[in-house]
Structure formats: C-alpha cells, structure tokens
Amino acid sequence: MKIIKTCLSAAISSVLIFSPMAYADKWSDQFPHIKATGDIPGDCSYEEMSKKNYKGKTLKINTHAVPVIGQPTALHAEQFAKLTGAKVDVTHTPAGDLYAKAMVPFKAGQAPYDIVFGFSNFINDWKRYLAPVPKKYINSPEMKDVTKSHIGVSSWDGTMYQYPVDGDRHYLKYRKDVIDNPEMQKKYKADTGKELRVPRTWKEYGEMAKYFNGWDWDGDGEKEYGSAEVMKKDDLMFAAFFSRSVAYAKNLSTPGGFFFDLETMKPNINNPGFVEALTDWVEATKYVPPGGINFGLGDEIGSFGGGQTLFSFSWDDAFIAAMQDDSPIKNKVGAAPLPGADRVWNRNTNGWENRYNQAPYIVWGWAVGVAKKSKVKDMAFDYLCFFSNGANHQADLAIGNFGVNPFKNSDFDPNIYIDTMGWDPEIANSYTKTLLDMEKSKNRVFPLRVPGVFEFTSAVATGTSKALAGQLSPQEALDEVAKEWEAIVQRVGKKAVQDAYAVGVKMEDNKL
C-alpha cells in the first residue's frame, strides 16, 4: 500500500511539474501580475513572446493617462520589453486629447506613435490611417474567443482596424446589501408603499435613489447617497446620457436608426424619448453626492466603488472596484441590466407606446490600432496580442481601475471570478448573466461611429450639461443639440455621415 501511495504521489508530482500550470509558474515568478493563473498557452503567451527578439527596435505607444488603460499599457510594455528585448516608449494622454494627439500627425502624414489608443467610436475617422489587423491574428484561437459584437465594434465593413483589448457596455450596479435586505425592504414599503427591488425602470431608479439619499443607511457613520453618475461636461457624459435614453427611445419596432432617421438623416436626439431621459437626468442631480454634477468617470468609480452610493451605471470599472479585495463593499454589490421604461417613443407613429422597454447600450470602449505608417508593425501587433493574451487578460479583468472589461466568450464563465477573484457565486453569476444577456439582446444600441464623431458627442455634452446646470430646459437643450447635429451633418456631408451611420444601424437592426 505504501509503495502504491509513493508511486501515486511521484506520478502526481511529475504531472504537476510538467503540466502547463507548473510551466506557467516559471513566468508568474518573474511577472507577479499573472500569479493567479500563471502563463496560459497561446500564440502570444509569455512563453511564445520570449522566443521573439526585438532587440534594437523601439515601439512607441500613445495611451490614456494612468490608471484606466494607461496602467495596463505601461505594465504590459514593461513585460514585453523584458521578454523580447524591445525598447517601448509609452506616452500617457488625457482622454479628451487622445483623438487629436493621433489625428494631428495622421493628417500631416506622420506616425510619431506606432500604436495609438483611443475610443472604439473613432474608427471611422482613424481607419484611413490604421493598418488592418493581419490574418494570422484574426485567425488565432484568442481572437476566435472574442464576442461577435466586439468583433463588430473593432471592424468596419468586414475589415478589422482595431485590436480588441477591451469590451464595454453600460449596466446597472447596485448595493445588494440594501436592495436585498428584508429590513430595508420593509422600511421602504412602509415609507413609500412601494417594493424595494432591483429597479426595472428609470423612474423606480430615481424613486429609490431619492429615498436613500443623504443618510447613513449602511451604518458606517458616513452619509450615503442615491446614485453616482458621470455628469461632468466633456468627460464621457454623453455616454451616460445615451444609457438613460435607450429605454425611452430605442424601439425594436422602428428600425432604421436610434440617433438619426437613417433615411432622412434628421436627428432623433430631441424627440420626446430623449427629452424624457434628460428630464429624468436633471432630476437625478438631486440624488447624487455633493458635487456629483461634476463627477467624471474616475469620481464615479471612486464613489460607488468606495461605498458612497446605492446605485451607479456605466462601464464595469466601478463594479470591479467595488469587488476588489481592498473594497469595503466586496461581495455587497450586484449587477443588473440598465433600467428600462414603462413607455417607449415610436417615431413612426409620433406617439408613445405604453409597454415595458429595455435596451442594452454597447457603449464604446477602449480601442487600439497600429499606424499604417509605422515601421515596426509586426512588433506592434505582437505587443497588442501579448497585451490581451489569456494570462494578462484575466489578471487585468480583476483590477477595477485598469479599465479592461470582458470581451471574450470565455470571460462569461462565472468560475473565473469565483476561483481567481473570490467573488460570491451569486454575484459572479448575476454579473456574467447580465453581460451575456446584453450580448444576446436584439434591441441593442451601438455607439455612434460616423465621421466627425467628436463634434456630435461634444454637442450632446454641451447641451445636456446646460440642462443639468439649469441653464436650459431639457427640450431647449436637446433642440439646441439637434440644431447643432444638423449643422454638423451639413458640414461633413450628408452622404458621408449617412453611409457611415448605415454600418452601425445594420448592427442595431441585427442585419450583420
């Protein structure tokens, strides 16, 4: 028996020593970032990259400021340099300047950066200056794992210009310890006569947020508030507004454009659906933390992730921040689809349809491309492939302020979050289900991807921020945005915008 035991343990030990896990440990010793998984075999794994020799070559990258996406870029650059011998220069740029920092040299026929990070909705303006992703990467097993919607977001008319490194969508985050708490439910019912539950509509969201605003409902000695939202002008607030608008204005029975009527290119932005959403948003200024109207994305992540608010909605980052080991509210938060509405605008009949409507917003995310004029394209694509290899990707997903969110089918396996990040199984299941349901939805809205996209989103930011500040009524603000959008369409050229918009509409209308 003893001999059998000894043989068995020797066999197990040798299997472990020569198994991929043990093999991976060799890399996780050098690179503690991947300690949870070790190296994961693949075309761009640590092992494969270590076989490349880029000594004497320099890779120049322009990325976002630290931490969101800037930190993983720098970290993977350092790892890549160590593995391949390349020199990697990373420049960090604020979000609002990423577009121009690449566009100015692009227009001048130069490529000061081999790799440029930006937002996925820049694709129309940038695609002329980016090298298409080579076939060998597109056909790699890692790329085959990327969801269909994120392949679509990274591509234009079938050609992939942006290398998928991040997947984004807006969803609702809430304090599970409050919403699911029977005592709180009883108290809420007694005070309001209504059920306390995960809000199904934005009206419910507002009512609950208002009720839980300005008092210490979690007993930590600090006041808590209703909702943390990105409301700061020019700091991605347009995306927050669209998240609130989809429920009222994305109608499955009126295909042919959410932002514009594709046929006429008349903006829909000031129709009653959008106005209703902006009216709700103005109301929301009453239940955000003090100074909440000036919250950028970083503030929103810090506020919800730090346990200051009941609700939040935007990218994954606030949720991941809340679920990190050092968070005071780890395993006390839940994920759910964006709230819907009890009525939805029908622009064909010019009237409201009194039925429940919910629409996911596959918002733009971080995107990255390789400059067509780069002299080190091979190295640049290898870096991007390395950036999103299995081990790096899983490690990045676990860090809230890295800004790397699920975009691979394998990311929707709850066990990743349970085993490697210590999430409560119920939360991990609701999180992956929320994301997966958005992938499957037929009523999705994709980001606006047309020439001059920054002009359109900037007009939305200006108009909605005037409404939030009380300078204009919601209708006046959106009328101003619509007027500006019409002027932009004229300046850019109706056909150019229409042709580009048609590509996005095809995705929204489930024709791609």
Binding site: A100, D125, D234, G291, N294, G452, F454, E455, S465, A469
Partner: protein, 286 residues
C-alpha cells in the same frame, strides 16, 4: 560700406522674426479660410468660418463676455492685493525677506498641479473646505453652482497670479525717488494722504504696465478652467480660449478654431489698446 550690405546683417534677425511671429499668424489666417477638420484637408472655403462665427455661434460671444468678466475681476483683485502686499514688504518690517519669498511661491508652482489641488480642496463631498464649513451648517457648491463656480475660478486665479503683480509693483515701489516722500513727511502728511497723493500717482505708469501685462495673460485663462470645471457646470465657466480649444483640439474643427483665434486676437489687440489708453488718461491725468 554699401547701403545694401546693412540689410545682409539684418537678414538673420528678420528670418527669425518671420519664422516665429509672422509665419504662424499667416498660417492661422490661411487655416481660418479652410474647412480643415477630421474629414477635410486644407481646402479653401473663403469667409465661411467667419460668417458662421458672426452669425451662428452665440456660444463664442458668450464665452468672450464671460472671459471679460473673469479677467477684469481677477486682475482688479490681483492689483489690489498685490499692491497691498508689495506696500507691506516695501516698508522695513520684520522678516521682510521671508515674506518677499513667501508671497512669490504661488507663482512658482505649476498651474495645472495647483489647480488639481484646489479642485480637491473644493470637492463638495470629499474636500476639506466643505468639511470645515459643514461644522457651521454650510456646504457651498463650489464647482457645481453656475455662479459660485465662476468665483472659484477667480479665487484660484487670484491666488496663482497675485504674486506676479506683487513682484512688478514691488520693483516699482523700490525704484521710486525718495524726495517726494521726504517732502510729504516734512509737510506732516498722514500715511493715507501719503499713499493717495504720493505713492499711488508715482506708481501709475508701473501700475498701467502691470495691469496690461496681467490682462493679456488673464485673457488666455485656460488651464484653470480645464482642470477645475471643464467649462462647466453647463457653460458657466467656459472662456474663449477653452472654447477654441474644444473646437480645435477636441472636435478637430481646426479651420473654424483658427477663425475664432484670429478674431479673438483682433478683438484683444483693439480692446487692450483702448484699455491702455483709458488707464493712461485716468491715472496719468496730472
């Protein structure tokens, strides 16, 4: 020496002048006549951008009025405080050298970094200012109230640039002749009369120079607004330079931004000339 040879010696300086001053202005004018943006190149569209600016862009003019308010207010405050501080350390006081250095520190700091710190101070839920004020039942909306946000910008600008005014005015005070002050002392003039009838009039030429220099600088206010409020809430703190920045470098409407920049330059040249003339007339009447 042949007369023409003189010009040969002028050429290097002339080239530099053309390269760094004339060429950029000419290029801005050329750019302003184009529709250069993310989808068009350096084409020629005539005066289209100027027509749009003068007939269809109230936001530019609103931002200009806001800028006028902010720059005039900040410069007046900087002048008053700067003069008071300079006057204080001009006299023989204890720790004179220490105060002279201390008052200059804000100017030596990096505006963007300091504005980030000010933004943290004024953060309405996490900042120390409201933390202290909440003990007295107050929690002003420093950055999110359209009116108060303007004053927050003014506070930061005044803090940052008063030392510059202080420096110029102190240099002016130190260069004043002693005789008028001796005469005033012999006549038994009180400190207030001495200031009003001797110091202030003698400082008038320097004051005009300092005010104009600061007005030129204040009219370019951008970093404070960018970091502190991003022009918000709404457009409450949006100034001309920030608006031009948004149009040019955020929305990439380079042609239109150039037309705004050139118009802005012309307006500034005219208005600063008028202000200098008025100040000269008022302060140097005697």
């Amino acid at each position: 020496m042949n007369f023409k040879h003189k010009y040969v010696f002028l050429f290097p300086g002339l080239f530099v002048l053309i390269g760094i001053l004339i060429f950029p202005i000419i290029f801005v004018v050329r750019l302003s006549l184009s529709g250069w943006n993310s989808y068009n190149g350096l084409n020629f569209i005539g005066l289209e951008n100027y027509v749009r600016l003068f007939t269809d862009d109230p936001r530019f003019w609103q931002s200009f009025l806001r800028l006028s308010f902010l720059s005039v207010t900040t410069v007046i405050l900087q002048y008053v405080i700067g003069f008071a501080l300079a006057h204080m350390v001009w006299k023989d006081i204890k720790f004179q050298r220490f105060f002279r250095v201390l008052f200059l520190i804000p100017m030596m700091t990096t505006p963007v970094i300091m504005t980030v710190i000010w933004r943290t101070f004024f953060h309405e839920s996490l900042g120390p200012v409201n933390d202290i004020l909440s003990n007295f039942g107050m929690s002003p909306k420093w950055l999110t109230d359209p009116v108060l946000a303007k004053f927050t910008v003014i506070i930061v600008e005044v803090w940052q640039w008063t030392p510059f005014m202080f420096l110029l005015l102190l240099a002016g005070l130190l260069s004043l002749p002693k005789e008028p002050f001796l005469a005033a002392a012999i006549d038994g003039a009180s400190p207030v009369r001495k200031f009003l009838y001797v110091t202030f009039p003698l400082m008038a030429p320097i004051s005009i120079g300092a005010i104009i220099i600061r007005l030129i600088e204040a009219s370019k206010i951008m970093d404070t607004v960018y970091v502190l409020t991003s022009g918000g809430p709404g457009t409450a703190t949006e100034t001309s330079s920030f608006y031009i920045f948004i149009k040019g470098l955020r929305e990439f409407q380079m042609g239109y931004a150039a037309s705004m920049s050139f118009t802005y330059l012309i307006i500034m040249i005219i208005s600063l000339t008028v202000i200098a003339k008025v100040l000269t007339k008022v302060l140097l009447k005697d």
